[in-house]
Symmetry: C2
Subunit: 111 residues, 2 copies
DNA sequence: AAATTATTTTTATATTTATCGAAATATGGA
DNA sequence: TCCATATTTCGATAAATATAAAAATAATTT
C-alpha cells in the first residue's frame, strides 16, 4: 500500500462515527449490516451515516451490496490488513520500537 | 489504547506532511532531527511544520527535546505500537479476519 | 399506479483544519 | 547588551469536513 492510499484509509478511520461504524462491521463479520441497522444501532441520522459510509467506501474499507431495498455494508478486511502492513513497514522503527519489520538505519550526526 | 486516544493518532497520521514527518523521524531513528532539519528536508515552511509537529506531539507520536537552540524531535515508537495493536485487536476480524498481519522478520543488528 | 420502505443526494450551515507571512520567544555568542 | 539563530505563536485566509433537514432515487407491495 502506498501512502497516497494509506492516507484516505487513515483519514476514514480518524473520525468517531466512522471508527464506530467500522468496528461494528468488523464485529458482525462478513454478513454485514444494512445501513438502516447501522444507523439504528449507533443512533446516527440516516444522511449523516450515509455521508460517513460513503467516506469509508471510497477509502476501500467497506463494501456494499444491495439486497432488495436494503444496502448491506461489510468490512473490507483486506484493506485493513494492507493498512496495518503499511504502518508496520513504514512507520515502525528500530530495534527498540515496533518489533515487526524494521530496516536497520544508519544514523549520521548533523553536518 | 482506547479509541479516544487512537482517533487523535489516526488523525495525526492522516495528513500528507505529518505522515512524511513521522516516516522521516522513524527512518532517522532515536537520534531524531531538529525542526529546522525536518523543514529543510521536506521543503516545508517553518510555521507550517511547527503546526504539524504540534499536532503529532499532542497525539503522542513524537517527543521533543531542546538542545541548545534546536528542538530535536523523535518518533515515539510506543504510541505507534499501541496504535497498531488497537487496529489489529479492534478493527480486524477474528479468526477469519486479517490474521496474516506480520511478515517474517529478518532483523539485522544495527551497525 | 399509488403507497411504503430504504437509502442517497442536495442544500445550507457550522466547525475544523491547513497554510504561511509577520511578529514574538528562547538560546547562545560577540 | 546587541546580534544572530532556531523555533513557535499570532493573525488572516482558504479549504475541507461534519451535520442534518428536505428532496430525490430505488425497490417492493398492494
Amino acid at each position: 500500500m502506498e501512502s497516497n492510499i494509506a492516507i484516505p484509509a487513515l483519514s476514514a478511520l480518524a473520525q468517531e462515527t466512522r471508527l464506530a461504524v467500522f468496528r461494528l462491521l468488523v464485529q458482525v463479520g462478513p454478513t454485514g449490516l444494512a445501513a438502516g441497522q447501522i444507523a439504528e444501532r449507533l443512533g446516527v441520522p440516516a444522511p449523516t451515516l450515509s455521508f460517513h459510509l460513503s467516506h469509508l467506501s471510497h477509502a476501500g474499507l467497506v463494501t456494499c451490496q444491495r439486497i432488495s431495498r436494503s444496502l448491506i455494508y461489510s468490512a473490507n478486511y483486506q484493506t485493513m490488513n494492507e493498512l496495518v502492513s503499511f504502518l508496520t513497514e513504514n512507520c515502525c522503527g528500530g530495534t527498540s520500537g515496533c518489533e515487526p519489520i524494521c530496516n536497520p538505519v544508519s544514523v549520521r550526526s548533523a553536518s
